[in-house]
């Protein structure tokens, strides 16, 4: 009997232990099988955007590397700008010559090269939405744009239109403008358009209704859904991978060929607003401020620091780990294989990014 009671006591103790819980957190995080750093990434077409006409040595070295060549097939130089009369710049012969040389150089490495058109003034500031709308509504401006675009595109494989901040009532003008450009450049060159990342109908974004995706989808070869700057009101990650999925799914309902955008830059949030930062800048600030870098809920790194004048700042950015996790989370059940990835802002990324992503490409 005593033996039985002892056994019962042991059994009860084990049962109580299981109920009360005798397990603990190690304090570390590991990735699930699909998200592991050595797991294969879902195959997708890759495009990278360079903000400018000039490729610096860092960017050139990255693009020449085997990792980038495995991940990327297309380079967009966000370089062309329309003047007030619709003329596309740069028009200087030396600038055109330089651009042609850059394109030839990239093509030698196997990349397709597109020129992006940014609607900025001569100082580099974006036209406000009302002004861009007035441009697009003017048939003479559109004709001048079209006529000067074609020679500027000569060395490139295609063109991308980066229209931002438009009011909703610019919808007809945007559709007419893209249709005219499409008729002018296709099929000899490819045409793409950058579209706001709406996640609902009607659009949840200011100006989101300016883009009639269903009509635009028939006029362009690819629609780039700009799933960037998720945290535009307060500190937070530059992208939320789940939100980006919703934006792309909505767009795919109207146009089958879409890209999801992934930021290579980070964002510094302060009392005077926000600004874009590079990976190295983020690392340097954290090091100088002697603050630890944490990971947010999406696994994007971030830290808080006190900047000049005692201003509190918060910096969020991405590294190879957080980018790799997001790309792995976008498996083919979540986003079909024909959805491409547009990496935005070459030069601001974690320097190991493309080598690590390239090693995981199928």
């Amino acid at each position: 009997m005593m033996k039985t009671r002892r056994l019962m006591m042991v059994a009860c103790a084990l049962a109580m232990g299981s109920v009360l819980g005798c397990s603990t957190s190690s304090g570390e995080d590991v990735d699930s099988v699909a998200l592991r750093a050595d797991a294969q990434l879902p195959a997708r077409s890759g495009t990278v955007l360079i903000d400018g006409c000039v490729i610096d040595t860092w960017q050139r070295a990255t693009l020449a590397g085997p990792g980038a060549k495995r991940v990327l097939q297309e380079v967009i130089l966000l370089c062309l700008v329309p003047r007030l009369d619709g003329t596309i710049g740069p028009r200087d012969p030396s600038a055109r010559q330089h651009l042609a040389a850059v394109v030839a150089d990239l093509k030698q490495d196997g990349y397709r090269v597109h020129f992006g058109v940014a609607f900025t003034d001569e100082s580099g500031q974006r036209y406000d939405g009302a002004q861009t709308r007035s441009f697009l509504a003017d048939p003479r401006w559109r004709t001048q744009f079209k006529d000067t675009l074609l020679p500027a595109l000569a060395p490139a494989d295609g063109v991308e239109l980066d229209l931002q901040g438009l009011p909703d009532d610019a919808r007809q003008s945007v559709t007419a403008f893209v249709t005219e450009i499409s008729q002018a450049v296709r099929p000899g060159k490819r045409l793409g358009v950058f579209v706001p990342p709406s996640v609902s109908l009607p659009s949840d974004l200011p100006g989101g209704e300016a883009f009639a995706r269903a009509q635009l989808g028939t006029q362009v070869d690819r629609m780039r859904i700009m799933t960037l700057d998720f945290s535009d009101l307060g500190p937070g990650p530059t992208i939320d991978p789940g939100w980006a999925v919703d934006a792309v799914r909505l767009a795919r309902g109207d146009a089958p060929a879409v890209d999801i955008a992934y930021p290579l830059y980070g964002t510094d949030f302060g009392p005077r607003g926000r600004r874009s930062v590079t990976y190295y800048e983020a690392q340097a600030v954290a090091s100088i401020a002697r603050v630890p870098i944490e990971r947010g809920p999406t696994t994007a790194p971030f830290f808080r620091y006190i900047a000049f004048g005692g201003e509190p700042h918060e910096m969020w950015f991405d590294d190879a780990d957080s980018t790799g996790r997001a790309l792995a989370a976008w498996n083919h059940e979540v986003l079909p294989p024909d959805v491409g990835v547009l990496f935005y802002g070459l030069g601001a990324e974690d320097p190991s990014l493309f080598e690590r992503l390239g090693a995981r490409m199928p």
Partner: protein
């Protein structure tokens, strides 16, 4: 069917089950038989018996370990985060699970050879130190907390064979059932996250093997091992532990 009698057993009052004999159909239909059959059936279900007959009732309590080689993908509920509504779906898990807990079981044996386990309930909580698991839910980043995992087993009838050698008994049984596992976690939405409980349910098909030593005429202590032939996959787990059994 002889009447049930009440005896003192192990220092307490217990209803001792009757010897059950097979009778012809018209006898079983009588009101008198039903009058006796009901309390007898209750007695059989509730208590261990010292019946001298071909059918004996068995109950057991097991303290032990449940191990799953690979946790299945868990079902997440539809969740509203700061960024989106994450639909109900599957969250990949993939790591192993080890839990400690207890199982209570009842069954019958016939002819002192055949065993028919009837119904069992088991509960196991995670034991050990676990890393947090970063995974995904419909494209959103999710986290699971493996240290919060628990498993509930409901074991259904099966069939087994046992043999006795002096004080020792050996048995092997095939058995069916269901298992339910649940794990706490969260789904990210921008700079915040929403807690969730992710769950999975599966059918079980297991083999039970045990070696027992008799402590007294009605009590045995056993080493119990039950490889799960199917549990979220083939040969994906096992339970094992120390079992105390009551019954002949």
């Amino acid at each position: 069917m002889r009447d049930a009698t009440i005896l003192h057993f192990c220092g307490r009052i217990a209803i001792v089950g009757p010897t059950i004999e097979v009778r012809s159909g018209h006898d079983l239909g009588s009101a008198r038989d039903y009058l006796f059959a009901v309390p007898i059936a209750v007695a059989i279900v509730c208590c261990p018996t010292s019946a001298r007959a071909d059918i004996d009732f068995q109950v057991s309590a097991t303290a032990g370990v449940s191990w799953l080689r690979s946790m299945p993908s868990l079902k997440n509920p539809s969740t509203t985060t700061a960024a989106r509504v994450v639909p109900e779906g599957k969250i990949p898990f993939g790591t192993s699970f080890t839990g400690v807990g207890a199982m209570f079981d009842m069954g019958i044996s016939t002819d002192d050879r055949w065993t028919i386990p009837l119904l069992g309930f088991g509960g196991y909580g995670a034991v050990g130190s676990y890393d947090g698991l970063v995974t995904s839910a419909d494209g959103s980043i999710a986290r699971l907390r493996p240290w919060s995992t628990y498993e509930i087993d409901i074991l259904l009838p099966g069939l087994g064979y046992r043999m006795k050698r002096r004080r020792f008994m050996f048995s092997a049984t095939l058995r069916t059932g269901f298992a339910y596992v649940a794990t706490g976690g969260s789904i990210a939405g921008g700079e915040s996250y929403v807690p969730i409980t992710a769950t999975a349910t599966t059918a079980i098909f297991q083999a039970e093997v045990e070696a027992c030593r008799r402590l007294d005429p009605l009590t045995r202590v056993c080493l119990h091992v039950a490889p799960r032939i199917y549990e979220f996959g083939f040969l994906n787990g096992a339970t094992f532990g120390l079992r105390v059994e009551w019954g002949r």
